[in-house]
Amino acid sequence: MLPDHGCVKKQLAWNRIAFKIPEAWEIESLDYTHLIVSEDGNPKIEIKWTESPKSFTLEKHLKKIISRSQKLLNIKIRKQSTPDFFLHSLPGFDFFFFSWESPSSKGAGTLIFCSHCRRVTLIRFFSNLDLTPNSIPHLVLTSFTDHPLTGHVPWHLFGMEFSTPMQFTLSDYSFKPGYFFVKLLYHKIHLTVLSWGPASFLLSGKTLPEFAKDWVPGLKGFATAETSDRGSYLEWSYRQGPFKNAGSLPFFSRYMRFTLFRLLQDTQNNRIYGVKIDSPETFEIELMKGTIINGS
């Protein structure tokens, strides 16, 4: 391991969990509450998180999680004292360090309880990653957060970078080469962030409206070109019922949904982003503005 780890700069943010990792590390697999990060197929860090029940005693809750993790991961966990040098910059985090051992591997890890969002996160580092001052585990843990620090949740993975309003929760996702989407839900409002790449290939000999026609079925009406601080984008805004002409029937008008769709090209990351909001109510345009697509 190198003595200086200034390389721990790559931001990773998924479903409210955010931390920094070395440039060469990649997401190997992910789930709603689980992440494995590896380098060339060798696992480096595994993260699993869970919400705490409404009423609980921390000690019992942690014991339960440790026992469940030992069974699930087929590992033995041994408690370790908190290193003297370790200090997280944010208040509200309790760290419980441990070492773990499986038949084929061993390493260090920690359980993190956040008193702000009541989430418990288990992080385990794989072999040769010891927790020493300025080591990779140290820098990863000090950069760790499990709740957004502003009103927006950052998302940063697979070259995608955006943030969404805090009240929305993840309902579905897909990351297939060339096409990603993340769907979020708040009451009956659906927010979907889509991303296609590489934009230079997809838009060769094609304009953005032509791309939308081919790749985003169901868009209605004409697109208006608008400009925001993130560049120019196309916007579609329309009402849609469960079937054609449903809006003209009084009974079905209650099932009409309002849809707003924005499409823009992120030239810096060579991707095309789409943001779609659909809601049963006339939604506030501020909600859309709350969905931020970062250009960098």
Binding site: G41, F158, G159, P177, P198, N269, N270
Partner: protein
């Protein structure tokens, strides 16, 4: 697939493998950046028997063509028998500004399909 030696590699080993083009393929470049690969395919024994039954002179091979889009053509151009899979992935990712993991999945799937068609062989690292 023209895999020599081991049949199962770890991911690390697989990334160090060196793909090599099979020499029988012909390249035809299109104006739009697409690439057509023409390569000989051996007839299945059933068709060989059929040739004989109808009394025709049996032919052993026929030419099959596949068309690669610009992205496929870029990966094809990176296969030179020297670069390993990892290098091809990194070059492809930087060429198109893609995330490494996204490039890794698409390039490895593409290499696998080329291997299944007999257009490349994969050599041990």
């Amino acid at each position: 697939m023209g895999v020599k030696g081991k049949t199962a590699w770890t991911k690390k080993e697989a990334l160090l493998c060196i793909p090599e083009r099979n020499t029988g393929s012909e390249e035809i470049f299109k104006d739009n950046g697409d690439l057509v690969l023409s390569f000989p395919v051996v007839y299945k024994p059933f068709f060989m028997r059929l040739w004989r039954i109808v009394g025709a002179t049996p032919r052993e091979t026929f030419n099959r063509k596949i068309q690669l889009d610009r992205l496929g053509a870029d990966v094809w151009s990176l296969i030179d028998g020297k670069r390993d899979v990892k290098t091809i992935i990194k070059s492809f990712a930087s060429l198109h500004g893609l995330d490494n993991r996204e490039a890794e999945i698409s390039v490895t799937l593409f290499l696998r399909s080329l291997g299944e068609k007999g257009l490349i062989s994969i050599n041990d690292p």
